[in-house]
Homo-oligomer: 205 residues x 2
DNA sequence: GTCTATATCCAGATAGAC
DNA sequence: GTCTATCTGGATATAGAC
């Protein structure tokens, strides 16, 4: 019956989601090879077999997470550029918003760590590698564009936009990592010092 | 005979060194779990058995590398503080020197990545975890001291020394990671923009 | 000191009962 | 949809030949 299969559908979705969330945490910290199916099963209070009922393999879970990680990141980049804000405000907004998300949702940090893990590892599945190669550059390019616009308007300091974008993401990733690991004990510092990296003196308080 | 055993000793040392160097590269990128003994053997052109002749287990290689990583880092910290340089010069010197080392010796980046890997992973051997816990804070504390001294002298911008030290190491680690991964293709940006993070206006060009 | 062969164990994945 | 039992491959580590 339709009603029954609707419910099943919802259960299925909820299970898949639980597996993905649990696996994200483990993959982000321990990597693909360092995470066992039994870890994921334990972490989500399922049996080994049930995990395989929802995903054909460990690597498929990994690939799906990488896909989602970039989906979210690229969505955020598009959203940022669509805002009707002066470029230097966009930059500050991105910084604050990202770090705020890190604080409130651990998941957000974990996606960043997952990408870092995957980028470093040599033995990730080909599907994941492809997604990585194809998207890796998008956040850098987005931020470089914003920075270049700000430089034209004289609100962002001169310098190669690519370089400043590089420092932007290095900092964001470092903060994500710190927050994911010590978030509960040590608060991440206030970001105000970082503003000096990007803004011209007339925009600084 | 003494001469013969001397030679053996030297061979032994050279072999151990080769294993450690090869393993560092693999552990730093793929983690402990993601690195197989056979990978290390292949990477150093030895047989599996020979690796076990020099180290009792994979984990022992890992622990020894973690030990060395901190040894080097802490040595560098001590050296930095011993320099007869004004504090803000020490900070710039540390930054330039670290990044210069990253460029000239890939090994240096790999040690930083190894520490990052080990910090993130949950399943590292207890011995490695201990070293990590005991030393993790030393580089931060060193840099915070230098920064505090610079603030007293008015050459380094105000702000919590711990926070600035945090940003310092976040950037260094990010650069190390970038250099280790894309070092051959993409040059790491010039560090001048980062100076603004730390120096008061009168010290800036 | 170095290699090959092998024992042992554990993790990924499947089958089939409920 | 969920679990337990099981197959299978591969990785750690050891033994023993050279």
């Amino acid at each position: 019956m339709a009603r029954n299969s609707d419910q099943n559908q919802r259960v299925r979705e909820e299970r898949r989601e639980r597996i993905l969330t649990g696996a994200l945490e483990l993959f982000a910290r321990n990597g693909l090879a360092g995470t066992k199916i039994s870890d994921i099963a334990k972490h989500t209070a399922m049996s080994n077999g049930l995990v395989y009922h929802y995903f054909p393999s460990k690597e498929d879970i990994f690939i799906e997470l990488i896909r989602t990680a970039f989906e979210r990141l690229i969505l955020a980049c598009g959203y940022l550029e669509s805002l009707t804000l002066p470029p230097h405000r966009k930059l500050l907004h991105a910084m604050d918003e990202l770090v705020h998300t890190f604080r409130t949702s651990p998941t957000a940090c974990l996606y960043h760590m997952l990408i870092a893990q995957a980028t470093a590892a040599e033995n990730i599945p080909a599907g994941a590698r492809d997604i990585l190669e194809q998207n890796r550059n998008i956040p850098y390019a987005t931020m470089a564009r914003v920075i270049a616009q700000g430089q034209e308007q004289g609100t962002i300091r001169p310098g190669k936009p690519d370089d400043l974008a590089f420092f932007f993401w290095v900092n964001i990733n470092g903060i994500a990592q710190h927050q994911a690991m010590y978030g509960e004990t040590a608060q991440c510092p206030d970001l105000a010092p970082l503003h000096r990296l990007y803004l011209t003196s007339k925009e600084l308080p």
